[in-house]
Symmetry: C2
Subunit: 426 residues, 2 copies
């Protein structure tokens, strides 16, 4: 029987590892807690009511159905038993000959788990739908609130962290308030909403060169976002955010600050870095376990210049392909090669027709960078159907300033701090 390759995680890393092994004499089991691959770079568009969940996610079985040597399994890995070569599940175990761990990262609240309840973060489809619900309900509550002063915290959106996700969220929320909702309410002017982007460091998009950070900040400010640099959040509760002694009253705080590796890393018994990431060998294998590979956001990989490979989709894809290549070489008795990350550039979008891009020495901003961002994201969306429909949604949105996915689902809302007045009965 062919050797059994178990891949844990159906994100970019795991999926590309599985596909790269399609012609090899192996049996692959791709294990994930979810039945879908999620195109995470567009998750903020679901959170801001532009796209529907199904447009940025594809069933894993669907993606892999043509590949005969893969089996998709729905389940959650709780630990890895390296001694017996088994992945432990909540209700069983999977024995492996080769193992690829690609469970990615989750959000981190820097030792303040109690903040999560008041400031949700954006990692899963459920997070995105929850944030969408929270944002839309905040406007609803403001519309029902007749006291002018009580409306202010309802119309204040605070985003913690000015990395790509924070910048995207801030830009999209500013656009919604200024262009999308303009004529929808009778008692509030959505354009009076404040969107505040809080960043502890000295500039937005810290992974980009300073000139692009500056360009992004100028653009955000022109869109109406208040950018606050050097603002270290010290507290978050149901009423707002504290920055030292200062207080920002806000009923809708979103978290885009910290990431931490998936907790599966802790079960491996190997050294982790401060963010809980696995410190791997140069070939991405686990120290002491040459048939176990760890890829993507779950790892800390040093590049030649001493910096870390960034936690972005292209790095996960390259890691997945490298793990597959190492397995292929091992099957042929060849030694593994070290992983080399090829940086093809970095992109971040700010809003309608605005983005920044770094491609080697080339720095782009504005409309051109945005077109590039659009092209890259559409071309890499898994599944032709999604690609085509997302393009259409975007075209409609661009031309009409319209957001199609403005649904509040779930139980009948208890509006945040709304008082039902008899106003309408005047």
């Amino acid at each position: 029987m062919n050797p059994h390759v178990v891949i844990v995680g159906g994100g970019f890393g795991g999926l590309y590892a599985a596909r790269a092994l399609r012609r090899e004499p192996v049996r692959i089991t791709l294990l994930d807690r979810r039945n879908h691959h999620l195109f995470q770079p567009l998750l903020y568009q679901v959170a801001t009511a532009a796209l529907s969940p199904a447009q940025i996610a594809t069933a894993l079985r669907r993606v892999l159905r043509g590949q005969e040597n893969v089996e998709v399994a729905l389940g959650e890995a709780t630990a890895v038993d390296l001694a017996t070569q088994r992945v432990l599940l909540r209700d069983g175990a999977l024995a492996y000959d080769f193992l690829v761990l690609a469970t990615g990262a989750t959000h981190s609240y820097f030792g303040h788990p109690e903040w999560e309840k008041h400031a949700p973060a954006l990692k899963t489809l459920e997070d995105a739908v929850d944030i969408r619900r929270r944002v839309l309900l905040t406007y609803e509550a403001a519309e029902r609130e007749s006291d002018e002063a009580a409306r202010v915290p309802l119309l204040t959106f605070a985003i913690v962290g000015a990395g790509p996700t924070g910048v995207e969220l801030a830009g999209a929320l500013a656009e919604i308030s200024r262009h999308v909702l303009t004529r929808d309410f009778r008692h509030i002017d959505p354009a009076s909403a404040r969107v505040i982007l809080l960043e502890a460091g000295p500039r937005v998009l810290p992974a980009f060169p300073p000139d692009l950070s500056a360009a992004a900040q100028r653009r955000l400010e022109r869109m109406g976002v208040q950018v606050r640099l050097g603002a270290m959040v010290t507290g978050i509760d149901a009423e707002g955010v504290s920055i030292g002694a200062e207080r920002i009253a806000s009923r809708c705080v979103l978290w885009a600050a910290g990431v931490a590796a998936s907790p599966l890393a802790r079960s491996l018994g190997v050294p982790l870095d401060l963010a809980g990431r696995v410190i791997v060998e140069p070939d991405l294998s686990l120290p002491g376990a040459p048939r176990v590979f760890v890829i993507g956001d779950l790892t800390a990989v040093k590049m030649a210049d001493g910096s870390l490979v960034p936690g972005v989709a292209p790095a996960a894809i390259q890691g997945g392909r490298h793990a597959a290549e190492s397995i292929r070489r091992a099957l042929r008795g060849q030694p593994a090669r070290p992983f080399r990350y090829v940086d093809k550039g970095t992109l971040a979008t700010i809003g309608r027709a605005a983005a920044v891009a770094q491609i080697g020495p080339l720095h782009l901003k504005g409309f051109l960078a945005w077109v590039l961002w659009l092209a890259v994201h559409i071309l890499t969306l898994i599944g032709f159907r999604n690609r085509f429909l997302v393009m259409l949604e975007w075209a409609v949105m661009y031309l009409r300033f319209e957001r199609g996915a403005r649904l509040i689902t779930g139980d009948v809302p208890e509006l945040p701090r709304a008082k039902q007045s008899d106003r309408a009965a005047g």
Copy 2:
């Protein structure tokens, strides 16, 4: 100040009542528990993974934003106080001069509320997403189940009730198992799934003429659905359905049998029929309250021939327009006119390229009826954007036998009765 018209419910009836009053000197408040209008006739397509929630729902504020005399309010009406002319909410009250009640129907389990847990019904977007999740997880559990006999109840889908919703669900489930999922699994053949449609009466689609019922049944059977007529369900639990002494083991039972009027009707203190519907005056007003109108599925309205106006979207739309017309006449001191339902025909779809239609004396079936069904549903979808995208989804689905919205969201699933085997580790 202009008279205040309160409309409770943003379904077809309420929405069309609001729109019909757009030129009148009134202030309208449209109250709904949800922020969206739902195109209920296509709800089964969300439940069967063909469409996304946002494609059949539009934000009420979006639909009505051009209409200056309407205000949309998010909230739940708990009762009506006719004496003081107020709608009571969970956290306040709305005074009205005219009232239109259009809260529709909910599902009824014929005195067996304990069945609901095991056999969900289809009324809201949340129901649809829950049913989609249940259906997809059942296949996942079957794939993981290594015992042949234990797989049978996992691959048995039972639908209770063969009205339009039951027929649509049965047809769609049969198509999924035979065409969509064919190559997705490694251990089960989805085409071996049984879809059983249980109907207590003597034929499917009882509201249609007998020849169309027979045609629909033949078509369902050709698609692989087992149609069981005269099958009165006497019990439903986690393991399956009982029909008297007979037992059908099924881990996925769906309910499409009974409807009951929304519970708001009980607060009115007027006679209700057995299904809890309000027995209204010929002009749709509440007995003793000429400025309160009740429309759509919430009412029982007798036609000239003694039969009831059916609980379908066109009847709700006509009722909404009639209530608006009555308000308009009252404002001018004119007496109300009786409501006359105009039956423009009835349509039910069975599956890909198959439907039945009755338009007066004309009975259509097969492809032609399906094209008609398609045209009517696309043209009446509220909102151009949705219309266009739904058409595209359908085109893709038709050409490629593909279902785009195959997402299981929510917590990590506890698969129904799955045993994790070490099989894959072989």
